[in-house]
């Protein structure tokens, strides 16, 4: 499903000031797998997630999704690939405050010509247990847990095989954080490949695999 081969990412000008964010990382993630990426701040977790998400070309190495070499594609095709293959759940959830819950869920469908986008978005919300009576409320009118459900519904509305989550529990209280983790666990059980960057120790218990990143390298035994 998702293969990372010898990926290296460097930032900054050449010379001693150059920062190595990732060094020769190799890993494979299969459909139905729930992977937690853990490590201290600045270890390269988010860099890895952005590279997996077709948003940050590596300095060297390759990333393939379903056999497609992501960074060989044009930027336009990379955007298409993100829309078709990847659902994102952001740390701050990043719901647009001027759109209702259901409109936020419809965002990945906005540029597609397809019938019944709202129906599809409502089904996604329903699947995540949000009372559809609240579908037309603005995010500010929803609780933290409800906002988390909306953010995950937005990630799965077009049924992508890969879900990338960037510290999705970071902005939530313990109870809602637990709920979001459980929802992601369920998505993995439903066949999605779920990769989650997290500091949350609970994740260790729920994840199928934990990848430890330290100084840009896989520190755990399960990197491959």
């Amino acid at each position: 499903m998702l293969s990372v081969n010898q990926v290296r990412k460097e930032y900054g000008p050449a010379g001693p000031g150059r920062v190595v964010a990732l060094a020769e990382v190799t890993l494979d993630i299969r459909g139905g797998e729930f992977v937690a990426v853990m490590g201290p701040s600045g270890s390269g977790k988010s860099t890895l997630l952005s590279i997996l998400g077709a948003m940050n070309p590596p300095t060297s190495g390759t990333v393939t999704i379903d056999g497609i070499d992501v960074y060989e594609l044009s930027q336009e095709r990379q955007a298409d690939l993100r829309r078709e293959y990847i659902g994102f759940v952001f740390q701050q959830l990043e719901l647009l405050p001027y759109l209702t819950a259901v409109e936020n869920v419809m965002l990945p469908l906005a540029i597609l010509k397809m019938p019944d986008k709202r129906g599809k978005a409502l089904r996604a919300l329903e699947q995540l247990g949000l009372d559809t009576k609240k579908a037309d409320r603005l995010p500010s009118e929803l609780s933290g847990g409800e906002q988390g459900r909306v953010a995950i519904a937005r990630a799965i509305v077009n049924d992508p095989p890969i879900i990338l989550a960037d510290e999705p529990t970071g902005s939530l209280d313990t109870e809602n954080g637990q709920l979001v983790l459980e929802l992601l666990r369920q998505l993995a059980a439903a066949g999605h490949a779920v990769v989650m960057v997290t500091h949350n120790p609970e994740s260790r218990l729920l994840a199928d695999r934990v990848i430890e990143i330290r100084d840009g390298r896989c520190g755990g035994v399960s990197c491959l």
């Binding site: 948003m55 336009e76 829309r83 740390q91 647009l96 990945p108 906005a110 397809m114």
Partner: protein
């Protein structure tokens, strides 16, 4: 909601950021309003000149030189009632005018005597002339009642009628002689509006001032021959000024044109400032929306989708600004010239100006969006994943 797309997002975004939207609309609308108002003013000046030329025909006035006093008609000043009357033309001038080489271009030569008369304690300007001939060369005259057919009948200009509160059939006493109002001239916009018109001999008799003339009105059959006729009359009557109504109107229009030039300069300045406001506001919006744009990109929006969204928002704002700006511009064109009452413009608003104003709003919005949109395409989509 199958139609959820970029338009829905654009409308929702603008609705949420009303303050910024209003600022951009105001900026654009101000530019449009200035454009429409000034262009309409320029058009009004031209239309007014044309209509007045048409109204006055290609006519000339032959007048004494250096008029200075208070009651005026056609540039002639007449002394107030009771004071000495100066600035007269010799009646022999009439035959000199009629005898010019290009006399075939003369439609009418109308000697005019202007006198100040006192009626019921108020001063009025009385004009003694051949009213029937005058009416023939001024086909725009509309008379309520009838033209005078007898020497004891008068025709009132509209303002004179209002001041006298007279109607057709009302009796007046001028210099002790009884007259009857035969008709009232509807508003001409010219100086006839202020006068009491009557037979020249009757005016001379009523005022006891003799048959001396203050001016001669000359109607010319061909506007192309005006300059030639002016030159020949000037040569035939060296002691008089020969004024072309066209020249006089053009002079007035020149003053108005200077105003229009200033207005055009101000419009260019306003358009530049408005563009700057819109560009800065849009740039600020892009900076504020970096994270949001990153989310769009992460969710699969292509760079051109983000650009399309930004242009949709600009076009929506410019459409509102076009309507507001055109409405304000028309109001400005209608009421602005009233600040300078002497301009007395006929309002002229043309569809091309209104369409041009609306197009200006759209062009400005598009131009102002190009650079911010370019910046948006350069944004790294991974910005959505960065920590705040």
């Amino acid at each position: 909601m199958a139609g959820f797309g970029l338009n829905t997002i654009a409308v929702a975004h603008l609705g949420r950021h009303k303050g910024k939207s209003i600022l951009i609309i105001l900026g654009l609308a101000t530019a449009v309003a200035a454009f429409v108002a000034v262009m309409s003013l320029v058009l009004s000046l031209q239309t007014t000149l044309d209509s007045r030329l048409a109204r006055y025909g290609a006519s000339l006035t032959v007048v004494p030189q250096n008029p200075e006093l208070s009651l005026q008609y056609g540039g002639i000043t007449v002394a107030t009632a009771g004071s000495a009357q100066t600035l007269l033309l010799d009646p022999a001038v009439v035959s000199s005018v009629e005898g010019i080489q290009s006399k075939e271009f003369l439609a009418a030569v109308l000697p005019v005597a202007l006198r100040a008369v006192n009626i019921s304690g108020a001063d009025y300007l009385a004009m003694g002339t051949d009213i029937a001939s005058s009416a023939r060369v001024k086909p725009w005259w509309r008379v309520e009642g009838a033209l005078p057919s007898r020497p004891d009948e008068v025709l009132l200009g509209l303002n004179a009628r209002n001041k006298l509160r007279a109607e057709p059939g009302t009796s007046l006493t001028v210099g002790g002689m009884p007259f009857v109002v035969s008709g009232v001239l509807q508003e001409t916009g010219g100086e006839e509006d202020n006068t009491i018109m009557m037979d020249r001999a009757a005016l001379a008799q009523a005022t006891g001032t003799g048959d001396q003339l203050n001016m001669i009105e000359v109607a010319v059959t061909d506007s192309g021959a005006v300059d030639q006729v002016v030159r020949e009359i000037q040569a035939a009557v060296p002691g008089a000024d020969v004024r072309s109504v066209k020249q006089s109107l053009e002079f007035n229009a020149q003053a108005g044109s200077s105003l229009a030039d200033i207005g055009l300069g101000a419009t260019v300045l306003i358009v530049l400032i408005a563009t700057l406001i819109v560009v800065l506001t849009m740039l600020a919006a892009v900076r504020e929306r970096q994270r949001e744009i990153g989310v769009f990109r992460a969710l699969g929006f292509r760079a051109r989708d983000v650009v399309s969204l930004m242009f949709r928002e600009s076009l929506l704002l410019s459409a509102v600004a076009a309507v507001v700006g055109v409405a304000l511009g028309v109001l400005g064109a209608a009421y602005g010239p009233k600040i300078v009452p002497s301009l007395d413009l006929d309002l002229a608003v043309s569809i091309p100006i209104l369409v041009g104003g609306a197009a200006l709003a759209i062009v400005l919005a598009v131009v102002a969006t190009v650079y911010p949109a370019f910046l948006a395409t350069r944004l790294d989509p991974a910005i959505a994943l960065r920590k705040l």
